[in-house]
C-alpha cells in the first residue's frame, strides 16, 4: 500500500519534470517558428 503510494508520487514528480521539459520545448519551437 505504502509502496504503491510512494511509486504514485515518484511517477507524478517525473511527470511534472517531463511536462516542464515538454512545455519549454514547445515554447522554443513556437518562438523559433514565428521568429524567422
Amino acid at each position: 500500500m505504502n509502496t504503491d503510494r510512494t511509486r504514485h508520487w515518484k511517477l507524478t514528480y517525473i511527470g511534472v519534470l517531463v511536462n516542464e521539459a515538454f512545455v519549454i520545448l514547445c515554447l522554443w519551437l513556437f518562438s523559433r517558428h514565428f521568429s524567422y
Binding site: Y13, E20, H33, Y36
Partner: protein
C-alpha cells in the same frame, strides 16, 4: 464606461461578497476559521494557490511586458515546477504532521521562541506593506484609465475583500478564489478572442505572430548567463527556484492555502497543480500582451498609455517638445504599419527575398517606434518630476477600456478586480493568522477560549484590511509594480528559506544558530542589494539562503547555545 459594464462590475462585487459571506460553514471554531478544519479538496486549494499568486499586478503588468518586451518574462517561472516537487517532498508533510497553523509555529517546535517571533514579525512587516501595494496597483491604474477617484477605487477593491474574509475566514477565501480564477481565465480568453477577431482583413493570426516574432516579442528563451538580467533561463531555473521555494514554502499566505487540504496527499496535489498549469497560464497572459502589440501595429496607438500627466504635458512649458515627440511617434508608427502590411503581403505571396527585406525594414521601424516611446517616457519623468512614471502597466487596461466591446469591458475590469481580491483575501487571512497564533496567543494572551481567539482573528483581519487600504492610498506613486512587490519579499525571503532548510534538512542546527543565521542572511542580502544594485533581485534569495545555512551551521556546530533536535521522518 457604458452602464452595462458598470452593472457587470457591480454585479461581480455583490456576487463575490455574497458568495464569500455564505461560506461560513465550520467557521465557528478557530481551526475552521483559519484552516477550514483541514478539509478542502486538492483542486480547490490548488486554484486558490494560483489565484493568490496571480495578483492584478501580475495580470496587468505581465500583459504590458508581453506588449513591450515579449515573452522573455516567462523564464521567471521556470524554477516553479521544481520548487513544487521539493516542497511536496519536504515541507508539506512536515507542516502537516506538526499540526501547525503557521509556518513560523513550526520554527518554535524545532528551534525556539525567538526565531519564531523574528520570522513572524518579518512576515507581518513585509506582507502587510505588500498587501497595500497589491491593493494600490490596480486602483492607481483603473483610476487613471477610467478617471475614477483613487481613494474610492482603493475602497472598492479593499473593503469588500476585507468584509468576506473577516466573516467567512479561509473557507470564504478559498471558494471565492476558485470562482475568481474562473473569471480571470474566462476574461483572458475573451481578450484573446477579441484581439484575434480585431486583426485587419487579410492578416491571419499566424501572420500577426510572424510580425511579433520578427520584432523579438516571441523570443522566450535566453540562455546567456548573467547575474544582472532577471529574465534569462538560468535566472529563472536557479534564482526563480529559490524565490518559489521561499514564497510557497515560507510565506504564510501560501503555506496556509495547503494547510487547509484534507491530507498530505491533497496538499501535495494542490501544489503540483501549479507545477503543471502555471507556466502555460503565464504564457496565456503574455501572449495576450503580444497580441495587443500586434493589434496596435494596424490600429492607431497612443504614444503613451499612461495619461496621468496629459494635461500638464500639453499645456505646460514642455508642450511644444511633447507635441514634436507625438508627431515623430505618429510618423514612425505609420512607417511601421506600412512595413508590417508589406511583410504580410510578402509572406502571403511566398516571396522569400521580399519576406527577408520587408521583415528587416519592419524590425527597424519597430525599433524606431520603441525608441520614441522610450524618449517620451524619459521626457515625462524629467518634465513632471515623476521619477517613477511607468507606462507598461497601462497598456492592457487602455486596450480593454477603449477597444473591447461593451459587456466585455465590464468582464475584464471584473477580472482585474478578481485578480486583486483573490490575492488580498489570502494575504489578509494569513496576516490575521500570524498575528493571532504567533503573537497574540503565544505572547499576549496564552490562556483564552477558542471563541475569544476566533473573535480576535476576525478583528485582526479587519485591521489588516484597513491597514492595506491606508498603505494603498499612500503607495500610489510606486513605479514598476511587479518588481516593487517582489523586492519587498526578496529582502527576507531567501533568509527565511535558509532557516527552514536548517530546520528540516539538518539535525545539528540550533535555535541560536538559526536566529543569528537569519540576521546574517538579511544583512548579506541588504549589502548585495545596496552594494551591487546591478545584480538581479532573483539572486538575493540564493544569497540569503546560502548565508543563513552557512552561518547557522557554523554557529550550531561550534557555538554552545541551544539544543539540537531530531529530524522528523
Amino acid at each position: 464606461m457604458h452602464w452595462i459594464d458598470w452593472a457587470l462590475v457591480i454585479a461581480y462585487l455583490i456576487w463575490v461578497v455574497y458568495d464569500g459571506l455564505k461560506r461560513t460553514k465550520g467557521s465557528e471554531h478557530l481551526e475552521g476559521y483559519l484552516l477550514a478544519n483541514r478539509s478542502l479538496p486538492w483542486w480547490a486549494v490548488g486554484l486558490s494557490v494560483m489565484a493568490t499568486q496571480l495578483s492584478a499586478i501580475t495580470l496587468v503588468g505581465t500583459t504590458g511586458q508581453g506588449y513591450s518586451d515579449g515573452m522573455r518574462f516567462l523564464q521567471f517561472y521556470f524554477g516553479l515546477p521544481i520548487a513544487m516537487i521539493i516542497l511536496s517532498v519536504t515541507v508539506v508533510p512536515f507542516f502537516y504532521r506538526a499540526r501547525v497553523y503557521t509556518a513560523y509555529e513550526y520554527l518554535e517546535q524545532r528551534f525556539d521562541a525567538k526565531t519564531r517571533l523574528l520570522a513572524s514579525l518579518l512576515f507581518l512587516a513585509s506582507r502587510g506593506l505588500s498587501c497595500g501595494v497589491i491593493v494600490a496597483a490596480p486602483a492607481v491604474i483603473l483610476s487613471i484609465v477610467l478617471g475614477w477617484n483613487l481613494t474610492l477605487t482603493v475602497l472598492a477593491i479593499g473593503l469588500p475583500t476585507a468584509v468576506y474574509t473577516m466573516v467567512g475566514g479561509v473557507q470564504a477565501v478559498t471558494w471565492t478564489d476558485v470562482k475568481q480564477m474562473a473569471v480571470i481565465v474566462f476574461g483572458l480568453f475573451a481578450a484573446v478572442a477579441v484581439l484575434v477577431f480585431s486583426l485587419p482583413p487579410g492578416v491571419s493570426v499566424a501572420q500577426g505572430l510572424h510580425l511579433a516574432g520578427s520584432a523579438g516579442r516571441l523570443r522566450t528563451l535566453d540562455f546567456s548567463f548573467t547575474l544582472k538580467d532577471t529574465y534569462t533561463f538560468w535566472s529563472g531555473i536557479l534564482g526563480g527556484l529559490f524565490l518559489m521555494l521561499s514564497y510557497f514554502g515560507c510565506d504564510q499566505s501560501q503555506v496556509q492555502r495547503y494547510l487547509t487540504a484534507k491530507s498530505i496527499d491533497e496538499g501535495r496535489g494542490s501544489l503540483l497543480m501549479s507545477a503543471f498549469v502555471k507556466i502555460p497560464l503565464q504564457a496565456l497572459v503574455l501572449i495576450t500582451g503580444v497580441l495587443v502589440f500586434v493589434f496596435y501595429l494596424f490600429a492607431p496607438s497612443p504614444m503613451l498609455f499612461n495619461g496621468a500627466h496629459d494635461v500638464e504635458l500639453r499645456s505646460g512649458p514642455g508642450a511644444a517638445q511633447f507635441a514634436a515627440l507625438e508627431q515623430e511617434f505618429s510618423t514612425a508608427a505609420d512607417e511601421r504599419r506600412v512595413w508590417a502590411e508589406r511583410a504580410v503581403d510578402a509572406r502571403r505571396a511566398g516571396d522569400v527575398a521580399a519576406i527577408a527585406e520587408t521583415t528587416d525594414r519592419f524590425r527597424a521601424a519597430d525599433q524606431a517606434v520603441a525608441g520614441v516611446r522610450r524618449r517620451a517616457v524619459t521626457f515625462v519623468r524629467q518634465t513632471t518630476g515623476d521619477a517613477q512614471y511607468n507606462d507598461v502597466n497601462y497598456v492592457f487596461p487602455t486596450f480593454v477600456t477603449t477597444k473591447m466591446p461593451i459587456g466585455l469591458v465590464g468582464l475584464m475590469i471584473a477580472a482585474i478586480f478578481a485578480a486583486a481580491m483573490s490575492s488580498i483575501a489570502a494575504e489578509l487571512n494569513s496576516l490575521a493568522t500570524t498575528t493571532v497564533i504567533d503573537l497574540y496567543r503565544r505572547h499576549i494572551k496564552p490562556e483564552a477560549t477558542d471563541s475569544h481567539y476566533l473573535q480576535v482573528s476576525r478583528w485582526a483581519t479587519g485591521f489588516w484590511g484597513l491597514f492595506a487600504c491606508m498603505v494603498a492610498v499612500y503607495a500610489s506613486t510606486l513605479g514598476s509594480l511587479i518588481e516593487v512587490v517582489n523586492r519587498f519579499g526578496s529582502f527576507f525571503y531567501g533568509s527565511l528559506l535558509g532557516v527552514f532548510i536548517l530546520a528540516i534538512m539538518t539535525r545539528r542546527a540550533t535555535g541560536t544558530g538559526a536566529f543569528i543565521g537569519l540576521i546574517a542572511g538579511m544583512a548579506a542580502v541588504a549589502s548585495v542589494a545596496f552594494g551591487r544594485p546591478e545584480i538581479s533581485f532573483l539572486w538575493h534569495n540564493v544569497v540569503g539562503a546560502v548565508v543563513v545555512v552557512a552561518v547557522g551551521m557554523t554557529i550550531s556546530l561550534f557555538g554552545r547555545g541551544g539544543q539540537s533536535a531530531p529530524v522528523q521522518s
